[in-house]
Symmetry: C2
Subunit: 232 residues, 2 copies
């Protein structure tokens, strides 16, 4: 397979870059790599320290890129940090989208995202800490998890599965509750995160109009398989 010829060349860029200098010249690929390294370094830093009092030099060192290259991508540290946070929320949102496409019940679609994100605290603790450190401003954001969750909540309400007067306020509260849970699980490594997350999921579905029996039935369904790890 590694020695196949021209027919599969367009997809075999992993080991041997396709020779297409005009559509994707080498400097641009390096540019993409540098940006990704800066974003990843910022994510590591934000996961460790909510205030992230580091210099740009420390960031470029952590990213293993030249100091000057920072300004090819970002004007300020704040701009990099915003991009790093949005990247995490977008990845998690895209992951949830991917694993819920097969589900028929909009209430289940809504709560599966919650159940998967609560479980991050044990699987990707650094990612969970980044969400806790930065996430509250994003419960009302129009990118990442929040708009997806809001749209899922509206769909569940429209289908008569959930009931809430103000979906925007309810979603901000549920997002905050999820972050509160992640903070709790971070300081309590002894707690069973899956159990605590599912218990809270049942409570929140009851808050959103379900009976206890209905809520427990939705949360008892097996979670979809996760296809690929997000960056943790």
């Amino acid at each position: 397979m590694a020695t196949t010829g021209a027919r599969s060349a367009t997809r075999s860029t992993k080991q041997r870059p396709a020779p297409k200098p005009q559509t994707e010249p080498r400097p641009d690929r390096r540019r993409v790599r540098t940006r990704a390294a800066l974003i990843a370094a910022a994510q590591r830093i934000l996961a460790e320290d909510a205030r992230a009092e580091v210099s740009i030099k420390e960031i470029t060192d952590a990213a293993d890129v030249g100091f000057g290259s920072f300004y090819n991508h970002f004007d300020t540290k704040a701009e990099l940090f915003s991009a790093a946070i949005e990247d995490v929320f977008e990845r998690q949102g895209a992951l949830i989208d991917a694993v819920t496409t097969e589900l028929d019940d909009p209430a289940e679609v809504y709560i599966v995202g919650f159940r998967l994100t609560g479980r991050l605290s044990r699987v990707y603790p650094r990612l969970a800490r980044l969400l806790v450190n930065t996430g509250l401003a994003y419960v009302t954001a129009d990118v990442g998890l929040a708009p997806r969750a809001l749209s899922d909540l509206r769909a569940a309400v429209a289908a008569g599965r959930l009931s809430v007067d103000d979906p925007d306020a309810a979603q901000a509260a549920v997002g905050g509750a999820l972050l509160g849970l992640l903070q709790y699980l971070d300081v309590r490594p002894d707690v069973d995160a899956a159990q605590a997350t599912d218990d809270l999921a049942v409570s929140l579905l009851r808050m959103l109009g379900m009976t206890r029996r209905q809520a427990e039935s939705v949360v008892a369904r097996p979670l979809p398989d996760i296809p690929a790890p997000v960056n943790g």
Copy 2:
């Protein structure tokens, strides 16, 4: 009353400081004032900017105190910021304690704190923003609002008014939901904060085991009067 003699002198320090140079000499009073000015400046800064990328010089300028006096009180900026945040949470907690002492229903005691804190967003928007910017790490703290709310929740559960398997996890979630609500109210100045807060209070009481009718009855009770403004 202002001219009463020795009998009430021990409590009449408000207008005329008692002449006790040995227990509280003048330099110590200045020291207290300086610390309070630094705390207040840090609170203003934290309300405006979650990352608070300011220098110690900028903080002492904002506090109108000498640069060198900073180190008489705090070793680092982080130490000042922690003290500033804890001060806010302690004040709000003490306020809630003060206005709920007369209440008989422990479920009402619990939810009154929530209802008053949600209303902060319109009365003291800067204080509310400080809570949003810094509060998530404090939903599991052992100072300030969190331990009081947890103790109130346990009392309501013990009295059979609320029902929850894991009060710690539930309180972290309710604290997060409150912060999510404050974030929502901050970006949506058009929303009736009292109404949105009370709607969420009803939802959370249902999540904590009440029927809708019970929850609405508790939240329909008038809020206690607030004796004195907290610093906003």
